[in-house]
Symmetry: C2
């Protein structure tokens, strides 16, 4: 490894030390990062990784090659990660929501040895500087992209997402979010100049000092993955920490290890090729029922934690891990909210909502759940409706949208766990317990290829605004609450209060009245939640675009962070100044 001075740091006396191979990546990805930076500043449309799984984009061989790679992984030891410090044990008990056992096992990490290796690897990574780190990260993401079809199968058979969604959300969309995190992190680090000659006017000669500013990491970044979006929700934390000079240890959900194992394999390959220690990225898999996440969270070497998952452990991290001095970024759960005041085009609006409720069976952290509708007088292009009539039409749209089993499964995917299945299977019981009325029952859908998959269409329960206890728990999965209010004003009030108290990742409003829309924007700002207005085309409330839409706000209890704003990256690094007279 030759020590090369990065071109941009030539004036400092503590220059970046960049291995040749990494410097080549700096050149290779300079334009990519320039474009991404520009997109981010404008928050305009930007996507480096094409979302279509079409052979026109990826070539005829990509899909079969990816499938073959996935099939080769099944029932085998994931050997490449045995280069990590391991205990000698192999773990893993993944079972596809579509039925089959994956049968993959992974080397168990020797945590203390892994932390030591990570910490030892950090100095060279720190001294390489922000530009080299960003370029290496882009190379990692590019190489992950090249395995998008393989990843799609891995994501599908761990999360239960339908194939095309698994390709998109688990592949290019996750990769775009990864690149976004790298770009935000690079931008934040670039704000600190590497060097300045500071000149203070004084009697006679000015006082001159050379000052150098060096970005340093905080320590090991722990990323705790979730079952439903193993890559999409993990990449922002992984790449934000890595780009800001922190080694990363990734603890996948026990039922969704494979997508992150592939990710870590790629990252370690690229890091080693670029002249750095593979120990900068390590995977910490475990069997179901373990306590590894907690143990890792409290490990002294861990300084940063990114978590996606249930509010129980998320809350523990926000209190206990935060009290232990860790930086904690969480995304938990919330009551995603729709307020219906009036509707310009019922067919388009209910069609749009039907898609949002159906996509991956409502198992997205951004899927709407609570629909607040004033009891009477909803002006629509299909006449004035009551809340119940609106609910019926929404139900018809959901039914119509999912009428064909073979097509429906390509949207609904499979239910991911027993908790979700129990709600879908005993929907009438759920409605009864909540004191509501079933407006639409979920329908059993048969998967043509995977008979063991449990697939259900969304159901709707009608509740009253007064039943606040009934609708202030997140019912993850294909459950919609239609909540009848006295007025849109009450809808907004309840929405504000419930979002402030219980959180939300998304909010939507339907109104033809500009004043109501203006009020909705104030409500969104008061409650700290992103707002989509009158969606009726190919944009859905549960989907956000990297580089343009923030995912979450960090301003309500659903999540304490957003993908990816300055707050998401700027505390992951620190600046050390050295100064001397010149």
């Amino acid at each position: 490894m030759t020590e090369t001075t990065a071109p941009s740091s030539s004036s400092t006396t503590t220059p970046a030390v960049v291995p040749d191979a990494a410097q080549a990546l700096v050149e290779k990805h300079r334009e990519t990062l320039a474009q991404a930076t520009e997109a981010l500043q404008q928050r305009a449309f930007h996507s480096r990784y094409p979302e279509s799984p079409s052979p026109k984009v990826h070539g005829e061989e990509a899909a079969p090659t990816g499938l073959k790679a996935h099939e080769a992984a099944l029932g085998a030891q994931f050997e490449s990660l045995a280069s990590q410090p391991t205990t000698g044990q192999w773990v893993g008990a993944e079972k596809s929501p579509y039925g089959p056992e994956l049968g993959v096992t992974y080397p168990e990490l020797d945590v203390d040895a892994a932390m030591e290796a990570a910490t030892a690897a950090a100095r060279a990574w720190r001294n390489a500087g922000p530009e080299a780190r960003a370029a290496v990260c882009v190379e990692i993401i590019d190489r992950i992209h090249a395995r998008s079809f393989e990843m799609a199968h891995a994501v599908m058979h761990t999360s239960g997402q339908p194939f095309v969604m698994a390709f998109q959300a688990g592949g290019p969309h996750a990769q775009d979010r990864a690149l976004e995190a790298v770009t935000v992190a690079l931008q934040a680090q670039r704000e600190v100049p590497e060097s300045v000659v500071w000149e203070k006017p004084a009697k006679g000669e000015p006082i001159r000092m050379q000052k150098d500013y060096r970005v340093i990491g905080r320590g090991v970044g722990l990323v705790i993955g979730c079952n439903t979006f193993p890559t999409w929700n993990a990449y922002p934390g992984i790449f934000a920490s890595l780009a800001t000079a922190n080694p990363v240890v990734i603890k996948p959900h026990p039922m969704a290890i494979l997508p992150l194992a592939v990710t870590v394999e790629v990252a370690r390959e690229v890091l080693a090729e670029a002249g750095f220690a593979a120990a900068l990225v390590q995977l910490a898999p475990e069997n179901p029922g373990g306590t590894l996440a907690k143990d890792l969270a409290l490990h002294p070497a861990v300084k940063i934690i990114d978590y996606t998952g249930g509010p129980g452990f998320g809350g523990w991290l926000e209190t206990e891990a935060a009290a232990a001095g860790k930086l904690v970024y969480t995304e938990k759960a919330g009551l995603n909210t729709v307020v219906v005041d009036s509707v310009e085009n019922m067919r388009a609006a209910t069609g749009n909502l039907a898609f949002s409720f159906s996509l991956y069976s409502g198992q997205m952290c951004t899927a709407p759940q609570n629909v607040y509708v004033k009891a009477e007088g909803i002006a629509t292009d299909e006449g004035e409706l009551t809340a119940e009539e609106f609910g019926e039409k929404l139900g018809q749209a959901i039914t119509h949208f999912n009428k064909d089993d073979a097509k429906a499964v390509e949207i609904l995917g499979a239910t991911v766990n027993d908790d979700v299945r129990s709600r879908a299977n005993d929907f009438a019981g759920l409605a009864e317990r909540l004191g509501g009325t079933v407006l639409l029952a979920p329908r059993e859908v048969e998967h043509p290829k995977f008979p063991d998959a449990v697939v259900r269409t969304p159901g709707i329960i009608l509740l009253e605004a007064a039943d606040r206890e009934a609708y202030t728990n997140e019912c993850f999965g294909p459950v919609v609450f239609l909540i009848r209010t006295e007025s849109t004003e009450e809808s907004f009030q309840v929405a504000t209060e419930t979002v402030r108290e219980h959180g939300a990742m998304t909010m939507a409003v339907y109104s033809t009245d500009e004043e109501v829309l203006a009020e909705a924007r104030e409500v969104a700002a008061d409650a700290g939640v992103a707002l989509s207005e009158n969606l009726q085309g190919q944009i859905f409330v549960n989907q956000t675009a990297a580089f343009s839409d923030f995912h979450g706000t960090g301003a309500n209890p659903a999540a304490n962070a957003a993908y990816a704003d300055a707050a998401f990256v700027s505390n992951r690094f620190r600046v050390v100044t050295t100064r001397r007279h010149v």
Copy 2:
């Protein structure tokens, strides 16, 4: 109040709502903020507020007018703050470290009513947008600057700082740090565009969406002031929170209320004149021995806490308040470190250090305490020295520097509390308890104007590297530990370990060897502390320049934040996106 659309937001559908008077301030301070932003990007020398108390700068009347204003405040009720929600009680028991009781009383805040008023005031402040908030903040700082002489007396007679230092550190330097915080905050908010038309390529027509981004605050920012730097250490938090759309409640140290009362008076005047509620800035004074800081920290309306002070309460905030979901920014205490390897110019180096040790009697959070010196073979221009010989020469420099009482008090100031005084008064006892040898005893200095002031020159205790327990407690005040090590390598090792474990705000190194200096930079990066190399002129290790030097790093236990990097501001606000089809 007329609603004016801020010029930069004309394309959005949720425009900033800026009162006319505030809009005038936007115009007035546009150039000031542009210059400050440019300085920040380069980290070049920048100072808006001249540090010299000379009549040539401020006019002949400024000094006597300031003194008169200060004298008018003494022994009286601080009436202007009675416009806050109050309990009807008056509190305050400040006593100058120079002797006199201040006799000022302040209206006690009705906390719940104050939080309600603050929260109610926040919406208009939020909706005014970043540019208007920044401009109003600059106007506040300018008006504080106009009262710098009055402030100097208030700071001197609460902190014990000597007059010129109180003028500079309590006035212009604090004001520059305030402007820095406003500028960093504005820059972070400007990174988020107000609006974009997002265009996604699609079959046929692209999908077009209008997206607006609105900055929202987090909630009430609580700023807990300290006794020694009531304004300097409070302004960054106050102005960072205010500029990012958060109302602020300031809880001054019970012995240093007056400087922040003047500050709050000015802020409320300016806010009201600019068309906002004065409740955006409120003062929460209390008598000594109260629990108000704790009560306020846990108040549900408080979301952000800035604290400067001892590690006990700071540690409580970092655990308990953090666990309660508050954003906590602390500056506590540490072991500021000097490593002496070799010295080019002993006279200049020991003179520089003598000033650093003497200034305000070592009662700066940045004042050096632990001087690591290899036992033998220190190459200097005065020959090769042993550690003890170096210590003796350092002692001579301190003695020489403080030889004239009347001049010495203008540097030493007065000891601020009994804790500091006890160490200075029983220095031999301290050395004995620590198992060290007194190389220089503190000298009693008589203050020509204030006979009751307790003024002591710094003393030096010689310790061995093995006595780690002895030198790993902060001994705030005029105490220097000269710690004898086997080698500079050991000095660096002990420095790294102690700073990592106990924290430090500053580190200095003296060496004529470029390799040693390079290693010192790695040590600084490893320990996460700012480094000053070979200071021997008019720049001192305990002074940092706004816009150029970060104050603290946030990377070691002395402080979890730095004045003022992106991490200091970017989590104080959130962004809410609203999007719709166009």
